[in-house]
Structures are given as structure tokens and as C-alpha cells.
Amino acid sequence: MTNTVGSIDVGSNNDIAPFQVADLRRVMADADLEDIIDDLVEAFLDDAPVRMQNIGMSVEAASSKEIRTAAHAYKSAAASIGAEQLAELLRRLEVAGAEGDCTRAAALLPLVRVAHDTVVARLREEFGS
């Protein structure tokens, strides 16, 4: 099943569950890095709002190159903390930028924003701000 925003197909993300803090704990346990989890969350929460703001500005400016760069920059951090849905949406946004499709990027932006807000909110609930 695919999502559409207006008449634009932005792909499916129904098979990827929204972020849970347990995902982060699993990723850190797999990496044997449980002892730096607080530092990692702090680093993520420091960077994520700026990353999201850059994405919003690049979409607003309809600059496909900047969309690609901004989405790519945030994707790495999202994947690193186990936020798979956010990382997948950022990958699609990056592809839209790479293909010069600013309309699809604009359609993806609200989905990216919701996934971003969810991740940030869950991390703040669990670890404080």
C-alpha cells in the first residue's frame, strides 16, 4: 500500500513501525555502546532540530540540490539511533532531491516532519530535554 499526498505518490511506509526508544536501546546494545546512550541522545537532540530546519528551508526554496544534501545529512543520524521510519522517509526525500523532483519533496515534507517530531518527543520523554 502506498501513501499519497494530494495526487502525489510518496511511497509506502506502513511496514515500518514508528520509532520507539526500545529501538535505540536495541541498536546500542547490538553495538555494545549502552554506556554512551545519554551522550548519543544529547548529540541527536542538539543536531536534529537544525537538520529539520535545513530540510524545511531547502524544500521551501525548491532547491533540489539543497534538499538532497539536507536530507542526506539527517538520514545518517536517524539511522544511527534506530529511527528507521524517519531514515526511510529521509532517503525518499534525498532521492526526490537527487531526481530534481521538488514537488514530490514538498509532498514528503509533512511526513518527514511528523516522523521527526515523534522521534524527538519520544527521546525527550525518556531522557529529558
Binding site: V27, D30, A31, D32, L33, I36, D39, L40, A43, F44, D46, D47, T69, H72, A73, K75, S76, A77, A79, S80, I81
Partner: protein, 190 residues
């Protein structure tokens, strides 16, 4: 080993640094290609792990700059990226990278890649040593390896090169060692 890392993403950098430190390595971290280059210019690093996409100076440009220096001691470079595919792999290799790791980082994969880097750098050191100065004991003629172990010269060279030894006697040794023995045998027989 002292490792220089260049990664602009704070989260990825922290994970990379912590993981490498947990393997027992000393890590010098930089958050962009320019700072990494400045650090490399001040000190030699045998292993660098660099992100592909960084502002100002990206991983490919950093690789090219390191290779253009042509320092006598080799620097092994691992490129770190979320990009994939044969095209990206080939571009990284063309720029001078030795290996490639996909993000997000996998601890076991990183450990394996770093072990390979250490192995290759070790072999490189041995080859360089064979091509240059071999520390040799003045008395027993044993040779010291890079790990401070002493080896018989024949064993050392045979184990590290394609060479093997055939045994003969040089004119000086023939004169000083063999001829006296022959003369002694002749005397006994007469």
C-alpha cells in the same frame, strides 16, 4: 593504533569514536574535511576513517589530498558512507580510499575492516623495512622484526619474501675456513 576520524554528523562521530576506543584504539576526531586535513598535516596517521559527504572538503577530496602528499609512510583510508553501489565504490577507490564501510555502522564489520587495515599496514611496514634498513645483531646476525622479535636472517627473509636460500661458500670463507681443514686432512693422511 592512533586513528584520525572525519565525520560531520555528531551522532555518527560519537558512535564511531566510542566503538574504535572500545577496540583499544586512540581516536582523534574532527568534524569536517578541512580540520581533518589540518590535523593530518601536523601529524602522520597510519589509519584514517573519513565520511564521504562533508561540508567544505568532502571525503573524496580529502583522500586525493592525502594521496597527493606521497608520504614515505602509507596512510590507510577507510571511506564511511550511506551511499552504496558499484559507482560509489569505484569513485572512492579511484580517489585513493582503501576500503569502504556503509553507515549505519556495524560494530563487527568495523572491527573486521580495522583488523584488515592493521594487517595490511603491518605487511607494508615489513616490506618497507626489507627495502630499507634491517636492524641486525652485530654478533649473531639475527634480525629484529617490527614487533621486537629476533629471527635468524635466513628464516626472516624466507618468511617475508619470495626468496629462498641455496648454500655455497664465498672465496674469503673458502680461504679462511675450508683450506685450513683441507691442509689438516692432508697432513693427517701423509
Amino acid at each position: 593504533m592512533k586513528i584520525l576520524i572525519a565525520e560531520d554528523d555528531k551522532v555518527a562521530r560519537l558512535m564511531l569514536k566510542s566503538t574504535l576506543e572500545s577496540f583499544g584504539h586512540e581516536v582523534v576526531e574532527t568534524d569536517n574535511g578541512v580540520t581533518a586535513w589540518e590535523q593530518y598535516s601536523q601529524e602522520h596517521y597510519r589509519l584514517m576513517i573519513v565520511d564521504w559527504m562533508m561540508p567544505q572538503l568532502d571525503g573524496l577530496e580529502l583522500c586525493r589530498a592525502v594521496r597527493a602528499e606521497q608520504r614515505p609512510v602509507y596512510t590507510y583510508i577507510i571511506m564511511l558512507t550511506v551511499l552504496g553501489g558499484k559507482g560509489c565504490y569505484l569513485r572512492a577507490m579511484d580517489a585513493g580510499a582503501d576500503d569502504f564501510i556503509r553507515k549505519p555502522l556495524d560494530r563487527d564489520e568495523l572491527a573486521a575492516r580495522v583488523r584488515v587495515a592493521e594487517r595490511i599496514l603491518g605487511l607494508y611496514s615489513e616490506v618497507t623495512q626489507l627495502e630499507s634498513l634491517l636492524p641486525i645483531c652485530s654478533y649473531c646476525r639475527k634480525i629484529r622484526d617490527p614487533n621486537d622479535r629476533w629471527h635468524d636472517i635466513e628464516v626472516y627473509i624466507s618468511n617475508r619474501t619470495e626468496s629462498s636460500f641455496t648454500h655455497g661458500i664465498c672465496p674469503d670463507c673458502y680461504q679462511s675456513r675450508i683450506e685450513p681443514q683441507i691442509r689438516q686432512v692432508d697432513r693427517v693422511e701423509s
